[in-house]
Symmetry: C2
Subunit: 126 residues, 2 copies
DNA sequence: CTCGCAAATGCAAATCTTTGCGTATCATTA
DNA sequence: TAATGATACGCAAAGATTTGCATTTGCGAG
């Protein structure tokens, strides 16, 4: 892969964010620095970054695919389907689970951003 | 929710399938029985069925969202990112993991179709 | 049975995403 | 430095998905 300026800017943009960005949000942000950039270029850059394992691609249940930098290491989320609350899952718990699955299946798991859906404590009683 | 004929046919269609279907595949199949049905009607029916927990909505890494009947109970998959091989994950292992996460987080997990990505045994040595 | 409401549908437009193709740009090698 | 090949890019078209709005349909209350 060649050093692409669009990729660099996307990575910088995502790294600054503490939240996930949709492709449209990425596009809007990129545009502030590269006003002439094409939408398809952003899509392809995101695709390459995902392929390279530098960003995660997830559906957080909002209907839109969201992207996130993986430079800070793998992490995982719980999303409340009712109120939208997002909570982090202990990485050790996920890691242990992955180890078990790998031992059982002989698969080598590459998932770096697991998203589980459900109800948070406050919304559970419905 | 009212008894929708499109929803019923979608459920029947998905229940007969052992594999996941994309929205387009669902649409094509539905059309054989309801030739005049509109694309957006199918999309909305799938959305309602997902909301009702009758079908699962997943990204299997192929780029297209796939749908599957949940009438046979929850199940989980490992997908090889290289050769596309799909393998089932032992449900007990996943269940135990969910229990642990629920105890730690006070979230009530609703995910019924977990998909993890990685490399299968044959493709792991790259 | 009829009325009235809420849900489902069709249609068209808007929006989002992907893809083919020609061009431009970067990196490597000679 | 110039040639060469591969990668990234822009543009436009195609394809997929969502959305607003008007209409139809099914279900329950009266």
């Amino acid at each position: 892969m060649r050093a692409s300026s669009v990729e660099q800017i996307i990575l910088e943009t995502l790294s600054k964010q503490s939240v996930h960005l949709t492709s449209q949000q990425v596009f809007q942000t990129i545009r502030q620095r590269l006003p002439a950039v094409n939408q398809s270029t952003v899509y392809r850059a995101l695709e390459r970054l995902a392929e390279a394992g530098k960003i995660s691609v997830s559906d957080m249940g909002t209907g839109a695919t969201v992207y996130e930098s993986l430079s800070a290491g793998p992490h995982h989320h719980l999303v409340c389907q009712r109120c939208g609350h997002v909570q982090t899952i202990d990485h050790a718990t996920v890691g242990a689970f992955f180890e078990t699955v790998q031992a059982q299946s002989h698969f080598q798991i590459a998932t770096r951003h697991l998203v589980l859906f459900g109800r948070c404590e406050g919304c559970a009683t419905d």
